[in-house]
């Protein structure tokens, strides 16, 4: 049980006894006088470079060595970015950032912070703690802010007003936010207005999937004002023709990424609207290289409004079972498709659908199939048509149905030949 001790030590002390651990290591240097003095003469610029390569805990140890290293520890450059990890022992396996460290950062370094993220476990207490820290960041100017739920989204459990007031502290004080990731939070339209009023010139990335309190009008206001916005992630119900037109207006920079989550929580209860082909066309004209990433979590019978017209989607993920028919439409309507992931499909093999996709989706370079069925010969045909551009090919072993042409043992050679590299289907342990 001696192994891994070093790692363990680092981990536990980094969180559960931040300062104590650091001071424990303090012992007088037993080096000859001259070498000590040489070290302390190291210019601050060099020290900074060294410190930048050290993890925080090591910097803390180093800061106990001498006055000059201690000063270096507090250099603003070392505190520009920080990730707060807020976990409760009752709800997480991971350790939290030590409270003393948080206090120290707020006291001494909050004005240095520029790139901040909060990783929060599934407990409401942790989300609350994140908000408390946020609302103390009054004299700092953040460039990026990320609120990340590592398990169940706990920000959603906070009183909305509490969350909003903490978030708007950052919006109002920062004035130059460029990236904001607030998925699964109770952010709402008025707070987005505050965001826009203070940061419209700088905002470039906004990630807000599954924010139920935002309306299509709320996000439209962001798109109208923030002309530098290049990456945007939101749910399908916020997507509108107006939004796409706003993003493709002349004043707007080229959009690079748009991610849309299409989610239905209860079958038959969500009516999905359609987006006009002309709106997508405008987007493609304005931002010819933009990526459109769509994640679908729908029941099979909810796909009716989708893939009726050409859509410039580049990355498609079907998280639930999707019908043969819909995949057939994908082959017809998604000429820009780069990656396709199908988690499940009915019991009928996807042979013609795949071949059509190979034929029509000339950019396709990655495909993943889970609980689907494809006959071996159709699969070989598909790979042959796509050839070496298929850089990611993740197919569960069970997907491939042996037929008169190929057995599973033969297929990996055939596919490897067409890909120009060794390929095997994904396997699961037989246990």
């Amino acid at each position: 049980m001696k192994r891994g001790r070093r790692g363990d030590e680092g981990n536990s002390s980094s969180s559960s006894g931040f300062l104590e651990a650091a001071s424990k290591k303090t012992r007088p240097l037993e080096e000859p006088e001259d070498s000590t003095s040489t070290w302390s003469l190291l210019p601050q610029e060099i020290l900074l470079l060294v410190f930048q390569h050290l993890p925080l805990l090591d910097r803390a140890y180093a800061s106990q060595v001498c006055r000059s290293w201690n000063q270096a520890f507090h250099m603003p450059e070392l505190w520009r970015c920080f990730e707060f990890e807020l976990n409760q022992p009752a709800s997480s396996y991971l350790k939290a950032t030590h409270p003393d460290l948080i206090k120290q950062i707020i006291k001494r370094h909050s004005n240095h912070l520029q790139y901040v993220s909060f990783k929060v476990d599934s407990s409401t207490e942790s989300a609350e703690a994140a908000c408390d820290i946020l609302s103390q960041l009054v004299n700092c100017s953040l460039k990026t802010l990320g609120l990340i739920s590592t398990a169940r989204p706990s920000f959603m459990e906070l009183p909305k007003s509490h969350f909003i007031s903490a978030l708007t502290v950052v919006f109002v004080n920062s004035k130059s936010l460029s990236s904001l990731k607030i998925d699964d939070t109770p952010v709402d339209d008025p707070s987005l207005k505050v965001l826009v009023a203070n940061n419209s010139d700088t905002l470039k990335l906004l990630k807000m999937s599954s924010c139920p309190h935002v309306s299509p009008a709320g996000i439209l206001c962001v798109a109208d004002q923030c002309h530098g916005l290049r990456e945007l992630a939101l749910n399908y119900h916020l997507l509108s023709d107006e939004l796409l037109l706003a993003l493709s207006s002349e004043k707007h920079v080229h959009l690079e990424h748009l991610r849309i989550d299409v989610v239905s929580e209860n079958p038959g209860q969500t009516q999905f609207h359609t987006i006009k082909k002309s709106s997508w066309d405008a987007m493609v004209r304005h931002s010819p290289k933009f990526n459109l990433v769509m994640y679908f979590f729908l029941y099979e019978d909810e796909f009716d409004p989708f893939f009726r017209d050409e859509i410039p989607v580049t990355h498609l993920y079907f998280g639930r079972s999707v019908s043969k028919e819909v995949l057939g439409r994908v082959g017809l309507m998604c000429p820009r498709l780069v990656e396709l992931v199908v988690c499940a499909n009915g019991l009928r093999p996807l042979d013609e659908e795949l071949i059509r996709i190979a034929e029509r989706c000339q950019q396709l370079s990655a495909i993943g199939l889970g609980e689907c069925e494809v006959s071996c010969s159709a699969f070989v045909q598909f790979v042959k048509m796509c050839g070496r551009r298929l850089s990611q090919l993740s197919i569960m072993e069970e997907v491939l149905i042996p037929d008169h042409q190929y057995t599973p043992d033969e297929i990996h050679w055939e596919v490897s030949k067409h890909l120009g590299r060794v390929w095997f289907p994904d396997m699961m342990p037989t246990w």
């Binding site: 192994r3 610029e45 993890p55 599934s122 169940r152 699964d184 990335l205 989610v263 979590f297 998280g319």
Partner: protein
């Protein structure tokens, strides 16, 4: 003077192919076969009644077989006075598991000091695992494919040795006292304190005799269907089969080498001399793979401190865990499987995938360690290495698994058993539901629930989780973790998993010149390479992530040490090398190479500018490829247990 031997049974509860047992008998005056119920099993008091029963049946069977050789089994509880035995030789089967190795080393030392000869033989695994590791350059292979490659380079396993027979016993005797039954008899479940009232008879009876009957049946059936491929799953395969062997392999009632050679013989007979493919031995090789991965890693069953395990911020949620373990999730497919597991001690491997996925990355986001503990208690064939390894595999915590595919707790069962007979068998309360609703009874109209005499929420729980919502969140979480590990910044989901699950771990190339950058950057390099005319879509240099911020322009100071985007440093070259290091030391998630960030972003900017000019496609593609092949090698090296991680035994 002829020695007095003790053979110590732990696993390997059999007389056939038991080389250590033969060594005990060879030239000995006396032999005593012992099994200690304590102290080594003391910590395992949480083992479920099915496992205890299976074990006791194995011991009964051993004792019966030994009687036929005028010997007996000595089941030892507490601290017997064995001085009068005058032992001078101790034999046992090699245990490859880290704690077993540590224990055996201590025993061996004590015995040697006491002048007792110790003989240890490998017979629980097909191969000497240390040989496999040696062949792989001193590190256990981390992918199954790599493992297969190594195996195919090795000689076939050693042939099984002859069973212990009267002839072999010769003059070697077992002194048996009149009170043997009282002192050393196999205890009953009741004596061990189990309440056996109403306990149904065992679906899996333990013992070597049963194992040998089963293997014959197993081979007969294989010969009859003359199909050596993995059988496709159907409703029937979910049920315990009289040809199932896994618990017997686990307790060593059946020798894996015997199984191996019987399969080989049968294949040759049926297929007329063609040499059998590795896939013939799938079940045995998977087992071997996990033993190999675990043998030098005492933290193999933990997330923390386990160098091959990805650190995932699982949720701690005892209530949800209990619902899963006690078959109260509200998903009939999951609950039926968990009921079968608790009642019978075995479930089909795809059923294991279903419940493991549900507990971990699919729905509940609870640590695989918790699931492993439940299996440890309930599953007859749950060996430490295989159990932990499979759980890591199924939760995508190791072995470079793709994580995109989550088994649906409704659809997966429905595909396998559309009629729902399996559910009705194990969850009688749902018996009245028509097939249409039996996998999602909460969707059944009230009238259907009333007719089925089962109101969801009263007689059967409502689903504990919204699967669509949970899988949406969880796929996002997994992506976040894997992107952070792999420093992959592209949009592709598949490319976030380093070394794309085909399992070569970056070590095997089609031909040297064509090494696929089997790492995360491959998608983006490919999109460069194939960024054909028009090139309307490029991921470019992997910069495409919507997670990435755009704050590239102002990096004050010489080093520009900002964190870009929401992840830590994005130096792609160094990133992969830190694959697992990163996950064991990210408490303070500051950039590990802060100085490089500015560069990186700057380069990115420049590249994308040039890309617009359209002259860098091949150039940057090459660079990325070179990067990633370096990276994949590093990754392979670094993701192995560190030298300090080797066992100290």
């Amino acid at each position: 003077m002829a020695p007095n031997s003790i053979h110590w049974f732990r696993k390997g509860l059999r007389l056939h192919d038991n080389p250590a047992l033969r060594e005990a008998v060879r030239g000995a005056a006396t032999v005593r076969c012992v099994y200690f119920l304590d102290p080594w099993f003391a910590g395992s008091s949480n083992l479920g009644v099915n496992r205890w029963r299976f074990l006791l049946q194995c011991l009964e069977d051993l004792d019966a077989s030994l009687r036929k050789l005028n010997s007996r089994l000595f089941v030892i509880r507490g601290h017997p006075n064995t001085n009068e035995w005058k032992i001078s030789r101790l034999t046992f089967e090699y245990d490859s598991e880290p704690f077993g190795k540590e224990r055996d080393a201590a025993i061996k030392k004590l015995a040697t000091e006491a002048g007792v000869e110790v003989i240890v033989k490998i017979s629980h695994t097909l191969y000497d695992l240390d040989r496999i590791i040696e062949l792989n350059g001193g590190q256990p292979p981390l992918t199954y494919k790599r493992f297969q490659t190594l195996i195919s380079r090795m000689d076939p396993p050693e042939l099984p040795v002859e069973p212990l027979s009267e002839a072999f016993m010769g003059t070697c005797i077992t002194p048996v006292s009149d009170d043997h039954g009282d002192k050393y008899g196999v205890p009953s479940l009741e004596e061990l304190g189990f309440d056996t009232e109403g306990l149904p008879s065992a679906v899996w009876p333990g013992g070597e005799t049963e194992a040998l009957t089963r293997i014959e049946r197993h081979l007969e059936r294989k010969a009859w269907v003359a199909n050596f491929e993995r059988p496709r799953m159907n409703a029937n395969s979910l049920l315990a089969s009289p040809t199932g062997l896994s618990p017997y392999l686990r307790f060593g009632c059946l020798s894996c080498r015997l199984f191996y050679f019987k399969l080989t013989d049968l294949y040759r007979k049926v297929k007329k001399n063609s040499s059998p493919p590795l896939s013939l031995y799938g079940q045995l090789l998977w087992r071997e793979f996990f033993y190999t991965a675990a043998t030098n890693n005492p933290r193999f069953d933990k997330m923390e401190g386990n160098p091959i395990c990805v650190r995932i911020p699982w949720d701690r949620n005892p209530e949800a865990l209990a619902k899963w373990a006690e078959a109260k999730t509200g998903f009939p497919w999951i609950d039926a499987i968990m009921t079968q597991l608790r009642q019978e001690g075995w479930i089909h491997h795809l059923a294991r995938h279903a419940v493991a996925c549900f507990l971990t990355r699919g729905d509940l986001w609870i640590s695989w360690e918790e699931g492993m503990k439940v299996f440890e208690e309930l599953l007859l064939d749950a060996d430490w290495s295989v159990n932990a390894g499979s759980w890591m595999w199924l939760s995508c915590s190791s072995f470079f698994q793709q994580f995109f595919h989550c088994y649906c707790p409704v659809g997966f069962g429905r595909r396998t058993d559309p009629n729902g007979d399996f559910i009705r068998r194990y969850l009688p309360v749902l018996r009245g539901f028509p097939a249409k609703y039996i996998y999602d009874p909460w969707n059944a109209p009230d009238s259907v629930q009333a007719a089925a005499k089962c109101i969801v929420g009263i007689h059967y729980p409502r689903p504990m989780v919204n699967h669509a919502e949970a899988s949406r969140l969880n796929i996002e979480r997994m992506k976040q973790i894997y992107q952070q590990l792999s420093r992959y910044r592209g949009l592709g989901l598949l490319a976030s998993v380093p070394s794309n699950g085909n399992g070569n771990g970056g070590m095997m190339a089609y031909s040297p010149g064509e090494q696929q950058p089997a790492t995360t950057t491959s998608a983006s390099s490919a999109s460069h390479g194939t960024g054909t005319a028009g090139g309307s879509v490029t991921n470019g240099n992997g910069s495409g992530s919507i997670l990435l911020n755009f704050d590239r322009e102002d990096h004050p100071g010489p080093s520009g040490m900002q964190q870009h985007g929401y992840h830590t440093a994005s130096d792609p070259g160094k990133g992969m090398a830190r694959l697992y290091q990163a996950c064991s030391s990210h408490e303070f998630a500051v950039p590990q190479h802060p100085g490089r960030l500015g560069h990186n972003a700057g380069k990115r900017e420049r590249e994308s500018e040039r890309e617009t000019a359209g002259d860098t496609e091949t150039h940057s593609s090459h660079k990325v490829q070179r990067h990633s092949s370096e990276v994949s090698l590093k990754c392979h090296r670094h993701s192995q247990p560190t030298p300090e991680g080797q066992s100290s035994v």
